[in-house]
Amino acid sequence: MIPLFAVVRVRNRRRQNIRLWLPLFLVWLMLLPLVLLLLPFAVLACLLIHMDPWRSISGSWQVFAGLRGTHIELANAEHHVLVHIF
């Protein structure tokens, strides 16, 4: 399953919290026409460099789907940044 939401939380030195819920599924919906448009070119590029287009596309999809559950958190005395992908 592809990532549907991302949470980005930033806390600055003045302890101000910014918390954003990013609806990634809307981004994917918006990008879908572009992806469909670029797909034939991607297949052509794969064929030109002797890569299996089907395996390349499925591999890329798996990487994309694998992003779900990724958690990145950085904190020091002044800042705290958190990114979590659901």
Partner: protein, 144 residues
Amino acid sequence: MNENRREILEMLASGKITSDEAERLISAIEDDKGVPSGASLNAEPSSKPRPKYLRVVVEDTRRNGEPTQVNVRVPMQLLRAGVRLASLIPADAQQHVDSALHRHGFTIDLGQIKPENLEELVDQLSDLTVDVDDSKSKVRVFCE
């Protein structure tokens, strides 16, 4: 390690039983559980959950003495997908990647990693724990 096995090893360590007796007792326990008698003493039960995430935790106080913490959790699914994608790299590019890895001391050929090896690799990662400690920084890599 289960309780019975631990007791047997403690009895062996304290000299209450001989190594032959310990081996027989462990074999008897394994037979009761349906585990092959030739299995390693260190083998964990097969029901051990597979790791889902690779965690990297870094604590550093080098900069101004203030602690900086990094906490990254990478899904195993992403690692699997990444290695699979790496195996698709064309042969020409693969040579460049391999030579770059060799230059940095990694004698590994990514193209040789097959899906079955990959699963084995990920299974073995469950036992991986890397701890690096010094006075000002601490790095921990483990699976959960």
